[in-house]
Symmetry: C2
Subunit: 346 residues, 2 copies
């Protein structure tokens, strides 16, 4: 596959909280935006999907793979995945494993996507723990935050590998040359934080020269863009992400309440509406195209369960770009060559 | 001391990033707001403090305790505190230990205040780890988040005690009857999160009947007010707090940039200015009166290093109220009677 060839992206349309309508719409929009470049393969109940497909358009490459099952939110045991061979997320990752597509996008439950990917695709050789990255907007660009939920407990060497995977993602998907890596901590000094954080600081500082480690960063640095990549355990990352969601909600809620009381506020809000919408989108990570699960054999993009059509479109495009840039291959090549990672993991 | 008697609050005026001016102003304002109820004892360089004092006002009870030293940001070793007997934060906690004041407020470096308090006051008997609580606003009230930085690593029993201390704070200082306690986690199910989180879930669920445990909560629940108290390790809590700060900064920064480009936005922002300011304050935890260090023998309130006069005023008033409600005594009485806590710590 050359950089310019068509990328096939399997989209698990059964995974979202709101049913397939928006997911199908977003997938089609991605294919329409990059005609000849992206083909979407909709995975789910065929009859239901057909109901949402418009008239065929030769510029929009789309196909459907029917499957009958779905994995519920509460079903997280690996055994479920081996038994439910016809669940949409299992079928989508199987298409990827069999090279029938180059990327998967799922708006399903994060745990389900991670488990299906680990079973269906496996970890990249040398990677101890796959991790989920999200892109957080900053006033001048973006920060990659990794991990945001795949690993609630980590060792220093895991954080070191998150840094390497995040570097590859930032460098090849977002064109950031020599991206700055920061370790999320509760102070700048190397002696701050938990034992794991202190060990990770040492590993990162003595790491390979391809890693531009700038030291510890704090919670406030994520949005400030102090680093291009901020690494943390999946517990902290997940909590931050969900907190950020609620900030948007609170701002909107407060504005709505106050506006009802005050005509001046109402007029002001009307004038500012495009700006407020932009601000909301800036803080709303759903708009940022989904979160790649880095470190598995294949490109898997997790989209929020309540994803809008736009979020799905962005996720499909990020998936296609990640596939074109062969992110998973680069992780295998660049990280398995990393002696420090091997030593520390042994 | 009865509930209505005058409370003496020592204010460490040397601790802030911006010098003593705002701290002195905020302390005086607190004393002025509650004449006869609050006396402030300003601790720091007397000559410097006198420069900021207005003409004596009989309704504002203020005195000065001179001290010559200061503890720098980088000095965190306990030995420093034993040697620097004349540092403002050490003097302030000594006044508290000697019952010359009923509360201390410091805008100094958090680590310095915690160390000085542990050495000068000691832990409440039975409390394994003192913790810092902050009050986060919600559309309908507030959430107490504990711990936000005293303990970067915790065990389940520590989280259990944070819940009990948070309960006492919410109940007596914020008048919340039977406050709901949530455990910060990355999912609602009891099997989610780290091993410590899972153990803490069990401890909390089987805890004393005075604890209204509602289960796991997620990052988004902090601002939504799903729980009255959210407990977490100090690493996660600290990262969230600093992240929240930067959200405000980013919103202001983006608005400022866009306004410069667009007259309509400028007019809208002018009309909305009071609302935007309210929104900013709502998300700005500095405005919420400082964070108590719960679990030491005495009332210690930590204020942000860049505290405004208003933040100091709020911190002094929260300190006075905590002293009136004898929060530290209640923690000693109610938690040392808690057999579960004792068993688990044994």
């Amino acid at each position: 596959m050359t950089e310019s060839s068509r990328v096939r992206v399997a989209v698990d349309v059964m995974g979202g909280d709101n049913g397939p309508r928006d997911i199908v719409a977003g997938a089609l929009e991605a294919a329409g935006r990059e005609p000849g470049e992206i083909e979407v393969v909709l995975v789910g109940d065929e009859a239901e999907i057909r109901g949402f497909l418009p008239k065929p358009d030769p510029r929009v490459a789309v196909s459907v793979v029917h499957c009958s099952e779905q994995i519920g939110m509460a079903e997280s045991a690996p055994s479920v995945y081996r038994r439910r061979k016809d669940a949409s997320v299992v079928v989508a990752t199987r298409l990827l494993a069999e090279h029938k597509v180059e990327a998967v996008v799922s708006a399903g439950n994060t745990g389900a996507v991670v488990t299906a990917s680990l079973i269906g695709l496996g970890r990249v050789q040398g990677i101890l723990r796959p991790a989920i990255a999200v892109v957080v907007p900053t006033p001048t660009g973006q920060t990659v935050l990794i991990d945001v939920g795949a690993n609630s407990e980590v060792k220093a060497v895991h954080l070191y590998q998150f840094a390497q995977m995040g570097r590859i993602y930032a460098q090849y998907v977002f064109d950031v040359p020599n991206p700055r890596v920061g370790l999320l901590n509760i102070g700048e000094e190397s002696t701050k934080g938990s034992e794991v954080a202190q060990q990770a600081f040492q590993l990162l500082q003595n790491g390979r020269e391809n890693l531009n480690f700038i030291g510890n960063v704090e919670g406030r640095d994520i949005l400030r863009g102090t680093a291009d990549i901020v690494i943390c355990d999946g517990f902290t990352g997940n909590v931050i992400l969900k907190f950020a969601e609620s900030v948007v909600w609170m701002a909107v809620e407060t504005t709505r309440r106050e506006m009802a009381k005050n005509l001046k506020f109402k007029m002001g809000a009307l004038l500012l509406r495009p700006l407020l919408r932009r601000l909301k989108n800036r803080l709303n990570y759903e708009e940022y195209g989904g979160a790649p699960l880095l470190g598995v054999n294949g490109i898997v993009i997790i989209s929020h369960g309540r994803s809008s059509a736009k979020a799905i479109m962005n996720a499909v495009r990020v998936g296609a770009r990640s596939a074109r840039m062969r992110i998973d291959h680069r992780i295998r090549e660049e990280v398995s060559r990393d002696h420090r990672g091997e030593e520390a993991s042994g």
